[in-house]
Symmetry: C2
Subunit: 376 residues, 2 copies
């Protein structure tokens, strides 16, 4: 019986462990937080990611290590490769951790991105703005997620406050893009190089955090092949093993690379019920060298993200083909505490179901753009 | 956050805990066996079912108690009702534990059964045989499962050896029935009386243990309504809450009651992937008073039971819409150690998938009757 070690004990680790249990796998989660929600379904090794004594115990107890948290220190990922098998590899992790390296990689592989420039000092911002223009977004190169570590620049007057807010760590200035849509590729690559993608997912954000996903994304006939080819090129370049997400903007009907997440991803949660083999099961299969599973969508799926606190579960539980996911966390503003997925045979049935659930939960504004996309 | 207590820590408890985790539930399993396989996914309270000191701790830590093991002592179930909420209720459990009470109940509700008679002494066998005839099966009234505690009677010569093997506990003699088919109803009843059934499942046994299930059972148009009505009558009579199975024989196109299992059931494992809300999730919903979930079948499902040891998982993992379930147990003759479920859009796709998997696993004999039923 194999044991999979996971660095990070959040909802992603929790859903990995739940997906792996039917395969007869055991899990061991490392997290510094005793209440890490994955510890409700898998044993927890409470330790800091730089506690190499604890990590030695971790490495001894597992067969392979993987990540729920993408910002594990580079030296930890490297150290682990010397003590156990690690997927994805530390280089892939390092590239995905750094917005500048990530975008540079995209460019080298022919995937265009919004204009960007490195910013390492106050004076660099002027040069970067000259290249990128306004509006733009100044971002930390590392450790940013869900809209954190970002400052929007509308004019020269924003430069000083932006530097005051973020200066002192490596930054990147990116052109602010008025995109038509945001889509993501959830892909999985096996140790033998086999590569599979789930159907393209369309995503909507609120306050920088994913709010809703719809899969398969509608009207992407002209985009899917290109999106999948880009994801494959990235995965092969990094010799990536496991599941990852590639977030893309659609601008004037063309794809621009936004970022990649070197792990299972919030925009792929719909795969739990919307496909025969979820992103979580496929990630576990990939890191263990098992055959990859079916990534075909079974009908249409819509995911609601629950941020801060959970709404009443009953209207979702009472609906047909509706699935509730409570991560077992306490409520806190901005925190991802759960999600719900609605499944349906087709977009017409989905529209009805979604409208009914949104009304019952008083979430009509949240669901409105998805309903609009379904009816187009 | 609610905690569900489960008496018994086998694969049923394991699958209940895995189904309940996404609902944000916690579980606590009582089992005397430290290696009980449910303990890999939920906390274990190691105790005997008659250890009332341990049960007091158990009752304090949970919100509701239910069962993975139907043969929990009656006094334990009764004691629990005085210390916590318990579903199903002890009377339902007691009736289902005793083959004589069970069959007597079926009769009282208009569900015919094979002829039967109580046997409490050696002399009773003669009277029972006079009533039931040969061939017949002498069975213990309590604690029998998977063909254990049974002795087949072909002629008067078998009476002494049968009594020698089983005598000393309350017995029942049942007519041995050459049934055409065996089907089961998996049903769920809520605390408010709402009642739902999954489509009828057809089952095949080998050596008294379930070997294969096919759902929805083919050609049951004339049987389903009657089977569901019998299940409902039994549930209402017992004020049953939760999931249960009613096993039925089809003889000359008519239904005969065989037995009921007051718990989630092996012949309902296909519901994990074959429906939007599995028997495990629906049982948890029922005992917690949550709305019941959708019991409609999504396409066709076939379950292989793995007895004794697991075959190679890879041919199943490599197939589309095929699902592997390893219970995390060690191998042992006659032990249920896992199952696999194949799903398909229709019977034609299922026939191809099933034939391919059976061939790859060298299980063509096991799968043959299911293939035949699919092609009829």
């Amino acid at each position: 019986m194999s044991t999979v070690g996971i660095l990070g004990g959040g909802q992603l680790a929790r859903m990995l462990a739940l997906a792996g249990a039917p395969l007869g796998l055991q899990f061991l989660v490392v997290d510094n937080e005793p209440s890490a929600c994955a510890s409700q379904v898998a044993p927890l090794l409470r330790a800091d990611y730089r506690d190499f004594v604890a990590l030695e115990e971790f490495a001894k107890r597992i067969d392979v290590a993987t990540f729920d948290f993408e910002n594990v220190p580079a030296e930890t990922a490297q150290w682990l490769t010397e003590h156990t098998r690690v997927f994805p590899n530390p280089r892939a992790l390092a590239v995905a951790q750094d917005r500048l390296e990530e975008k540079t990689l995209f460019h080298s592989l022919g995937l265009e991105t919004p204009a960007f420039a490195a910013v390492d000092s106050r004076i660099d911002i002027e040069t970067a703005v000259a290249k990128v223009g306004f509006p733009a977004v100044l971002k930390t190169r590392r450790l940013g997620y869900d809209g954190k570590g970002q400052y929007r620049l509308r004019s020269a007057a924003d430069l000083d406050p932006a530097w005051a807010a973020l200066g002192g760590v490596p930054l990147i200035l990116e052109a602010w893009i008025a995109f038509e849509r945001e889509v993501s590729v959830i892909a999985v690559r096996a140790q033998d190089g086999e590569f599979r993608t789930y159907p393209l997912t369309q995503n909507w954000h609120a306050d920088g955090i994913l709010s809703m996903s719809l899969a398969p994304a509608p009207q992407v006939e002209n985009l899917s092949a290109s999106a999948f080819a880009h994801a494959r090129a990235v995965a092969e370049k990094l010799d990536y093993v496991g599941v990852f997400a590639l977030e893309l903007f659609v601008v004037d009907g063309k794809l621009l690379g936004n970022e990649m997440a070197p792990r299972v991803h919030n925009s792929g949660h719909w795969t739990i019920e919307g496909t025969a083999c979820s992103q979580f099961e496929n990630h576990v299969r990939a890191v263990l060298g098992l055959p990859l599973g079916d990534t075909t969508a079974i009908g249409s799926s819509v995911m609601f993200n629950w941020i801060g606190s959970l709404p009443d579960a009953r209207p979702v539980l009472a609906e047909s083909r509706a699935h509730w996911h409570d991560y077992g966390k306490t409520s806190r503003a901005g925190r991802k505490v759960g999600h719900a997925t609605l499944c349906a045979a087709d977009n017409i049935e989905m529209s009805r179901r979604l409208a009914r659930v949104a009304r019952a939960l008083d979430r009509e504004a949240q669901a409105a753009p998805v309903l609009e996309a379904l009816q187009r």
